[in-house]
């Protein structure tokens, strides 16, 4: 395949159009390398790493000239950093593509990313910080036959580390914007978009015990309605029986429903969302678990938190079944009012909850989730008794004066660790408070203080966190912080997780050094957020683009 691309590039540079092409040619790309020097710390559970130093590296190179574009990504894991799947090993070019677009038509061969609707049936994407890259290697066509009509077709096999998955993925998707389609409706206050997709996978059946479906089909329909300040958005998906390791080899078909209703006007926004997921794990290989070879995306219907202690107990969707709802309110208290002050105050309130789905035995002689059977019956609208997760949180952002501003957050989290982590520690209830205060010393020099507290009677009990950051815009930052598990009842486990950080940014190139002990979670320092695993040592991150 690489020969094919080299040949294509060579031919391009030899042809008579080459001169013309070269004049319009553009090269762009990006580069990232993370490496960490690991030290052992038995107290926090950081083991000795034989290599001492682990690193991940990525280079994207893209070429475009007029309607033609091509690109590659080189990846290097010598060896892969902690927290990533160890099957990322060595180096190679797992991503290369060539694409051509002409007016309303475009074709891509090689690797590509794609999403149908909200992604309940198909979402092919890369999330480097999580080690996810399920890119399809094959062919994709996109076509706009008429104004307001968008068609897509894909076929290929998914990336599986430095190899490809066994299954073949095929799919088509269509979307129609009725207001663009018909001039009579173009001025209508009601704006309507409808869409539908069909996705199927093929994988041979080599199972000695069960007769498994080699072709698994699925379909979805969606609608978006906008009327004045209102927006309604909904998608339903259905998948035929697809016994897999994840669903414990049951033959029940899968289904999912998502709906959200949003009202917004100047200074006020409200979104209510709800979803039901029932047996919707969808992969191009039925035997694979973890983050590999996933075909669809079933995101958690909860607010992603980024402050260290708020991100302690994050929820992950249960693809085998959950009912969830979320409400979000954003409100701006106007400036020059008592509560708004001179600059106004932003308030964000968020509530989310996820429960089990209703599950009943198929019949008296079949146990719940018995492999090789339908597994269970479920009433579509009934909510299961078991609570998986609940989050009530409020965030107030206020600028006091030209020099001082703050973000204040309080949250109450209920976290069912048995279900989410598969442990037997029960459910954790926690109150978390965060004050994030920024003081401008000069127009470009600032001090930022984060003070956080987590209170819980379960798990490791109470935590406190303090972080101080000094920034000199636009290039420098330096920080120091500590998370302290002061509430731990075992004296030897009242541990400090300290961190020192330093960073330098020159335009789009950035280097950041972090030394200390890290718990798993999303960490934001010096103006950038990323996911980091638990560890102790020196981490260096270099990013650049051109």
């Amino acid at each position: 395949m690489n020969k094919f691309f080299t040949a294509a590039l060579l031919i391009m540079s030899m042809t008579s159009v080459a001169q013309n092409v070269l004049q319009n040619a553009q090269i762009h790309g990006d580069f990232q390398t993370d490496f960490q020097y690991y030290m052992a710390d038995s107290a926090i559970g950081a083991d000795t790493i034989p290599e001492k130093l682990l690193s991940n590296g990525y280079l994207n190179l893209m070429f475009s000239a007029g309607n033609f574009s091509a690109g590659i990504r080189y990846e290097n894991y010598n060896n892969v950093m902690l927290g990533f799947d160890p099957r990322y090993k060595g180096s190679g070019i797992p991503y290369r593509f060539a694409s051509y677009s002409h007016k309303d038509f475009d074709i891509t061969v090689g690797n590509y990313y794609e999403q149908f609707g909200s992604g309940m049936l198909l979402r092919i994407y890369e999330e480097r910080s999580l080690g996810i890259d399920n890119s399809l290697d094959g062919i994709r066509l996109r076509f706009k036959p008429y104004k307001g009509i968008y068609l897509k077709g894909v076929i290929g096999q998914q990336r599986f580390f430095f190899d490809k998955g066994e299954g073949i993925v095929r799919g088509i998707d269509g979307e129609v914007n009725l207001n663009e389609l018909n001039d009579k409706w173009s001025g209508s206050k009601l704006r309507t978009t409808i869409g539908g997709s069909f996705v199927s996978k093929y994988q041979p059946d080599k199972n000695p015990i069960y007769k498994l479906p080699e072709n698994v089909g699925s379909w979805a329909g969606r609608i978006t309605l906008n009327y004045g300040n209102w927006m309604l958005n909904s998608e339903y998906a259905y998948k035929v029986n697809d016994p897999s390791t994840v669903n414990k080899m049951i033959y029940k078909p899968g289904e999912a429903l998502f709906a959200s209703l949003c009202y917004s006007q100047k200074g006020l926004g409200i979104t209510l969302s709800a979803k039901r997921i029932d047996n919707m794990n969808f992969r191009s290989d039925r035997t694979v678990t973890g983050n590999a070879l996933t075909m669809n995306y079933l995101p958690a219907l909860t607010k992603p938190h980024t402050y260290t202690l708020l991100a302690f107990y994050p929820y992950a969707t249960q693809p085998n079944g959950e009912m969830a709802l979320q409400g979000q309110l954003n409100y701006k208290i106007k400036k020059n009012t008592t509560l708004g002050g001179k600059y106004g105050t932003d308030i964000a309130f968020n509530y989310s909850r996820a429960n089990a789905i209703d599950m009943q035995k198929v019949n008296d002689s079949t146990a719940l989730m018995q492999p090789g059977t339908l597994g269970y019956k479920s009433d579509f609208f009934a909510i299961g008794d078991e609570l998986y997760f609940e989050d009530v949180n409020i965030e107030v952002s206020h600028k006091f004066n030209k020099k001082l501003k703050g973000i204040f957050t309080w949250a109450y989290l209920t976290y069912n660790s048995d279900v989410i982590e598969g442990h037997t520690d029960g459910t954790f209830y926690s109150h978390i408070g965060v004050a994030d205060i920024t003081y401008k010393i000069t127009p470009t020099k600032s001090l930022r203080l984060e003070a956080q507290h987590l209170m819980t009677k379960q798990d490791k009990k109470n935590w406190a966190n303090v972080m101080l950051e000094f920034t000199m815009a636009p290039k420098w930052f330096i920080m120091a912080g500590d998370s302290y598990n002061y509430g731990n009842p075992v004296k030897s486990k009242k541990l400090h997780y300290y961190t020192f950080g330093f960073g330098y940014t020159k335009n789009s190139s950035r280097i950041a050094l972090t030394y200390g002990k890290q718990r798993e979670g999303i960490v934001c320092v010096g103006g950038v957020c990323r996911n980091v695993p638990a560890s102790y040592g020196l981490l260096v991150t270099i990013t650049s683009n051109f």
Binding site: N60, A473, T505
Partner: protein
């Protein structure tokens, strides 16, 4: 591996003749869900700021809140237009419209839920901010935001307007 270096050589040769990169054509979404091309990022020959952000990214929200405070002054003085590109995926995409309106941000917001535009613009981390000139060329970019970073940005826009070369 040989072909990898072959490709690298090809890129190196091209890069000798290559010009400043322009904004690629990619389908985006408005917060209301309608599909719109990145070719609609326009400002009548005046400079454009493109800023990648997400609702869950605190520094991004800080940056855009700062921009929102000074946006009117900036527009009057320089005619600049800001497009904030949300990379919220389908987990938080349904909240973008209420988030943006609830904060009363005065600039245009477009969404890139599967990161197609982010990838085409070679963005590693958010926030990431670009300056686009009258010929749709990317003339400057910066990753991360720290308090006061907006001062450098508007200073560069002024220089660009007065015909200075702000490429580095």
């Amino acid at each position: 591996m040989k072909s990898f270096f072959g490709i690298l050589t090809f890129f190196a040769v091209i890069s000798l003749t290559a010009q400043n990169n322009t904004v690629p054509t990619v389908d985006l979404k408005k917060p209301d869900g309608t599909i719109v091309s990145s070719d609609s990022i326009l400002n009548n020959g005046k400079p454009i700021i493109i800023s990648f952000w997400a609702t869950w990214c605190k520094p991004c929200v800080k940056e855009l809140t700062t921009f929102a405070e000074v946006y009117e002054e900036w527009q009057e003085e320089t005619g600049v237009k800001l497009y904030a590109i949300s990379i919220d995926d389908s987990r938080t995409f349904p909240n973008v419209a209420s988030f943006v309106n609830g904060r009363d941000w005065p600039f245009d917001v477009l969404c890139d839920p599967n990161a197609d535009f982010k990838r085409a613009m070679n963005v590693n981390l958010v926030p990431h901010t670009f300056i686009i000139d009258k010929d749709r060329k990317i003339v400057w970019q910066h990753t991360s935001f720290t308090e006061g970073g907006e001062l450098e940005l508007i200073d560069l826009i002024r220089k660009l307007n007065s015909g200075e070369n702000i490429n580095e």
